[in-house]
């Protein structure tokens, strides 16, 4: 099992950092605004979420790259195919 965990408290400025979005070789992640845009109001309160979780290989490049340690990868067994995504307190999706 490959378990990805994203810590909302440690991921302080995803819209400025964006490193996990860039470095993941499979492009697993996406970014969305929890406070959505409205006419006259820009989107804000950004969060990272997986768009292509089934493409995750468990390579851990996201874990190695994240400067805040907000993404961690735990691989429970070799040849893992089951992938999960957990968020710590504060995230919603």
């Amino acid at each position: 099992m490959i378990e990805l965990t994203w810590d909302d408290k440690k991921c302080t400025s995803p819209n400025e950092c964006r490193r996990c979005l860039d470095v993941c070789p499979q492009g697993v992640f996406g970014i969305y605004a929890r406070d959505g845009r409205k006419p006259g109001k820009a989107a804000s309160n950004w969060a990272i979420a997986p768009m292509y979780l089934n493409l995750c290989t468990g390579c851990e490049i996201c874990d190695e790259t994240c400067p805040e340690g907000a993404i961690t990868v735990r691989v429970a067994a070799q040849g893992a195919t089951r992938r999960t995504w957990r968020k710590h307190v504060g995230a919603e999706l």
């Binding site: 970014i31 006419p39 292509y52």
Partner: protein
């Protein structure tokens, strides 16, 4: 012909029919759909694709059983087709007004907010992409009006850089935009090639490499987003896998021998249903 040509083109290419860009099609329902499409793009795509990909990871067969209904809905709301650069030029020659805007796929997949690869097109005197995006501060300063010539030059350059041109409906058959895609940066291309869920048609064409002209340099392979070009080392020649090919035509610009051409997909018997 793809089913849109049959339904919305009277047997001709639907994306070359002026009526599919006309303001008569822009009714309240399409306006509402388009506004919500852009306003909630990141939230919607992450929720829907996120859920689908999680299901694929857990139970691929169950996920695939959902594909036909997802595709059927997308064909009504927002579906695309690959078009080669000559047809992009023909579309722009229909004297549509053109705006260039940041690509919403890239903003969601990578957080790039100024990746200005997307071109809104609409009948002269009416407004679509600009009117839809203008109320939002995220985009209002990035909407750039272009002349037809400027847009053609910009997209021709993207073609030489190997980007795939796609037209998109906002309430089929109304065409609101032309985007320029890569497999990693476009949700539609990525979702089709990696998940097998087609949210657009291949082009009305398929590429072919002239055997005599080909010198085996393999430059064409560099630009193919779909892995549709194969190399035979023994004879030092490339060939196009027609079943993989999407007919985008960007390989042609790479070939130093002009050995690649686009053929009518409908004239190849086994490809007539390969969309």
């Amino acid at each position: 012909m793809c089913e849109f040509c049959v339904q919305h083109g009277e047997g001709k290419k639907w994306y070359l029919e002026a009526k599919n860009y006309s303001r008569e099609l822009m009714n309240e329902e399409r306006k509402r759909f388009s506004t919500e499409f852009f306003e909630k793009f990141d939230e919607t795509t992450i929720q829907q694709l996120g859920a689908l990909s999680k299901l694929m990871a857990a139970d691929e067969a169950a996920a695939r059983r959902l594909f036909p209904s997802i595709i059927a809905q997308a064909k009504k709301d927002h579906y695309g087709q690959v078009v080669p650069i000559e047809e992009v030029d023909q579309i722009l020659d229909m004297s549509l007004s053109v705006v260039r805007v940041p690509c919403v796929c890239r903003s969601t997949l990578r957080g790039y907010r100024e990746a200005r690869f997307c071109f809104g097109v609409t009948a002269p005197g009416s407004a679509f992409m600009d009117a839809t995006l203008a109320p939002y501060p995220d985009w209002s300063s990035s909407i750039e009006e272009l002349t037809t010539e400027e847009a053609k030059k910009a997209i021709q350059k993207l073609d030489r850089n190997g980007l795939v041109h796609t037209v998109w409906t906002f309430g089929t058959p109304y065409i609101g935009g032309i985007c320029n895609c890569t497999v990693n940066e476009c949700l539609a291309l990525k979702t089709r090639t990696r998940l097998g869920l087609p949210m657009f048609f291949k082009a009305e064409y398929v590429a072919a490499i002239d055997w005599d002209e080909c010198n085996g340099c393999r430059d064409c392979m560099k630009s193919c987003n779909f892995g549709a070009i194969n190399y035979s080392a023994y004879v030092d020649k490339c060939s196009v896998n027609q079943i993989q090919c999407y007919g985008c035509g960007v390989c042609r610009a790479e070939c130093p021998r002009d050995a690649i051409s686009l053929r009518d997909r409908n004239a190849v018997p086994a490809l007539a249903n390969e969309w």
